[in-house]
Subunit: 569 residues, 2 copies
């Protein structure tokens, strides 16, 4: 095994692949050097003057180690892992730390296993973090529950890399026994634990970190970053579609810079396709003043060190030949991408088969529902004053407005108001749970729209002004196995299938986006205000950890009181 590397390293054997005359980033000395980068099998064997069976002229390019995304939910792209790889590998990302939190909420361990296995056919190393908080809250019905004993049972699986973001930081700080059991299981297995502790400071932060937690991707202020790094945390610089903290890069110093890593967390297919992945993060932080070599180190060596990924994240002998050749350290425009020694992308296009799909039955047909009827959507109030949810600017925090509303035959009357019914229908376990709420100001009229993405348990969330349309919408979602739907009152049904767990599509990104855009346009044509993301804004109205009023399949939830509440005001 080693002989082939050694012989080629000392030039007694031709290399398999040589990136000739490359300028490259030496992450160990934080400098820029020149040479031929020699590759044998999956390894770099050296830099110098080398000959290869295949040679690529890199005289006008700068070669970097392949990027490592420190924290990502593939599901947020709505793409299969294979298709996701086809978008991000050509951008230069060769390793991701993936937390399949969403699909595991739907499918349990089968979701984790699916992401791992589906990733095997693509030239992207997908390190699976076992989701630590499934469900994210106890106030809803998820498809799966991972208790302490489940984490104990699964954390040692060969395809599990570590324990995913520990969002339940109050559970750690308040020493909830089953929460501690999860952490202890991860430590016993010697696995790294990702953190998630927005605005946790001081003694509470000390307590949280005493859970043995390594990272945080929620930092946003200088003070928070400094405190967390000082307490041993690796801090992510995040380039999500909506959640961003690229500004964190500004707080790097000579002294603390090894503790910063890049990640994307949640990034939509459109952004991946049009703007990019970590390449876009690099481009932006460099444009914003970060030293490009330092930026590259955050995207490579730092992340490898954080996650204990040996022989990865650098251009040096015996390191994994994950390489990206870019035009320059400003555009980060990827010309060639090499993964484990193989050229896998050129000029932004994948050179690997992107058509394969691993589709086990365990992640398909995940909408389990009895036939819904119009009457299921009746909303009966005791009086005339009700709480209506609103969305505040920013898109995820909701408000509560007290509204006057009439009823007729035991059902609220929405005609002539800007109110809509917002309903969460449990879709995992046939509990028949239906959570009901009123929503004000979405703008939609004349039917129903719905989606099977509803954070974090991913039940069906529907909005509408017509019971019959809402029932038809739910039934269509069941029929297609999950996705998005619009029902025109007494008319057509328009839908888009997200066949994988109701969260992701097995189609290619381009077709999916085209149809998705059409459906979103349809929603806007039926009145959904442009300030909302038609479907994805709905998806966060069930997330009962973000203020103020949310609705789950178990009912209306007052996040500030941390308790269910009545719609009647």
């Amino acid at each position: 095994m080693l002989e082939k590397y050694i012989l080629a390293a000392k030039r007694e054997k031709k290399c398999d692949l040589v990136l000739k005359n490359a300028t490259y980033v030496d992450v160990f000395t934080a400098s820029i050097k020149k040479g031929d980068i020699a590759v044998v099998g999956e390894k770099i064997v050296g830099v110098g003057e080398y000959e290869g069976e295949r040679e690529i002229d890199c005289s006008s390019l700068t070669v970097l180690p392949g990027y490592i995304d420190g924290h990502v939910h593939i599901e947020s792209s709505q793409l299969s892992p294979e298709e996701f790889a086809s978008l991000i590998v050509p951008r230069g990302t060769t390793t991701i730390i993936a937390d399949p939190h969403e699909i595991t909420n739907v499918c349990g361990m089968a979701g984790c296993e699916y992401i791992a296995k589906a990733s095997e056919s693509v030239p992207l190393d997908v390190k699976i973090q076992l989701p630590s908080c499934v469900p994210a809250t106890p106030f809803e019905t998820s498809g799966a529950v991972l208790e302490g004993k489940d984490i104990e049972e699964n954390i040692g699986n060969s395809y599990i890399f570590g324990l995913g973001e520990f969002m339940n930081y109050p559970g750690v700080i308040y020493c909830v026994p089953d929460v501690l059991k999860k952490l202890e299981a991860a430590h016993a297995a010697g696995k790294v634990i990702d953190g998630h502790a927005p605005a946790v400071y001081g003694y509470e932060l000390n307590a949280y970190l005493c859970g043995g937690i390594t990272t945080d991707h929620e930092c946003v202020t200088k003070e928070e970053i400094e405190e967390k790094i000082s307490k041993g945390v690796y801090v992510h610089i995040r380039h999500g579609s909506s959640t961003q903290n690229l500004g964190n890069a500004k707080y790097m110093t000579d002294g603390n810079m090894r503790r910063f890593i890049l990640c994307t967390d949640d990034r939509h297919a459109a952004d991946l396709k049009e703007k990019g992945h970590l390449d876009d993060a690099l481009r932006r932080i460099v444009a914003d003043g970060t030293d490009p070599v330092r930026a590259v180190i955050c995207a490579t060596l730092n992340c490898a060190e954080c996650y204990g990924l040996k022989w990865r994240g650098a251009i040096a002998p015996f390191y994994l030949a994950d390489l990206v050749a870019v035009d320059d350290l400003k555009s980060f425009n990827a010309k060639y991408v090499v993964k484990s020694g193989k050229l896998v992308a050129e000029n932004g296009k994948p050179l690997f088969d992107t058509s394969k799909r691993y589709l086990p039955s365990s992640v398909l047909n995940t909408v389990h529902l009895k036939e819904m009827k119009a009457d299921d959507f009746i909303l009966t109030l005791k009086g005339k004053r009700a709480k209506a949810m609103t969305i505040e600017p920013g898109g995820v925090v909701t408000g509560c407005e007290i509204v006057e509303v009439d009823s007729r035959n035991g059902d609220v009357v929405l005609d002539g108001t800007d109110l809509l019914k917002l309903t969460v229908v449990e879709r995992h376990k046939m509990t028949g749970n239906i959570g009901r709420a009123l929503f004000k100001g979405y703008g939609f009229k004349g039917g129903a729209l719905g989606i099977t993405i509803a954070h974090d348990s991913h039940n069906i969330i529907l909005m509408g002004d017509d019971n019959e349309s809402m029932a038809r919408a739910a039934n269509r979602l069941k029929e297609i196995g999950g996705g998005m739907v619009i029902v025109e009152k007494g008319g057509d049904v328009h839908s888009l299938t997200l066949d994988i767990a109701g969260l992701m599509s097995s189609r290619d990104a381009e077709g999916l986006q085209r149809d998705s855009r059409a459906l979103i346009e349809k929603a806007h044509s039926m009145g959904v205000k442009r300030e909302y993301e038609a479907f994805m804004s709905l998806a966060f109205l069930s997330l009962a950890v973000i203020p103020r009023l949310k609705v789950t399949d178990a009912g209306l939830f007052d996040v500030e009181k941390f308790a269910f509440t009545e719609i009647d005001a």
Copy 2:
């Protein structure tokens, strides 16, 4: 398990130990901070304002993470691991990466196991690197041979941390199959491999590193350091008794500083006792201009990262409570040392029981020899011109001088010359091997002196001008189970026992040193020139990898020709 840390971290429970009002080095941000350092069990739970069952006022002290010695042969101290710990722990060292290369050459795996087990009773974490090159050369008889299959068999042992310094760099570069087998076994077990590649550069260095080697402690020049770091190597700053490269610290930059670590390699008991251990290294590099915070990082976090020692090398929540409180960052004078949460040394004195000795029979009585007679030391030459070994300034490189020498009754005549017989007697396997040589200029007269430390196979090496005395010396070494001896011709025998493998003493350092000094003085009184280290200079005359002429139990060896040679010139 985690609950006690978390409760104390948020001050709902008193801590076990608090270092009050400490100034401390924050290795993550490379800065100096202040606070109470709170400890529960073996962990740090936080820094802030804390109360403890026990509190130590550190208001005039600076607290650092316990030091980690990146590479050390305990045997070079001639002390047991227990006594070694009693000297270095009070200096602030709490973890060592120990390569029991010497004792393994004598005792095989039992030597490794002994070092591991003996270390269990002392508050020092001893991470055992399985010696990779036993014997160091094929030109001598050692007590044990560790072939590739032996490494395969043992590298996974629970008490083995990694693979020790791979001195056989030509074996790697030339792809010797059994050498590669050793490296491959270590990789298969996921273990770190230490390097040793003095003045190996360029393509040969690429080849060596393609063995998957992580460190080098032999760097001395700026160019060598820069090349090695750039190629992914962690470079040691070494503070041995004779081998030193503290000057390496000068080549640290903002960009490469995380790749420097401290070590001592070989350090004598007298230096440990009088000058210190890594504290002395820190003192010196800081005196020489290295930023003290950066120096501390090299002695702590960097080393922990290099060797994958998680939760070690920093003062932060969940990190191992290995701490040293020093007067200041100039003297590095250790006032208190805390190991795994326990106060284990104060004012340079150990607070732990230093009298325990683990002494398994496998490392005792290791001198296996038939009774030697005067005739065994006859040296017969064919002619009158002979090669005589000399020692060049520096102490380990030897020269070869052609001398005229008379013979009588088939034995050389040494009277009236400054020649001595230098003889290596195999002492492991009763082979009866005797290697003979002539040595010029040592100064000794009137008997014999000898020692069972003779690098790296540690046979008996004897020097003398009288056959009878040499035989008596060998027999005394057998009788005492190894050590050092001086025989006065026709008179007294003076000896000092190194009962552990003939390399180390089970006594305390003070008694050993006193007696050792007396014996050394005796040697000088019998003529050994002051420029030599009486016994320890002998110990390197058998090291057949250092130029030019050496003698092993198999005969006189010409290192430059890499072949045995005749004494006759």
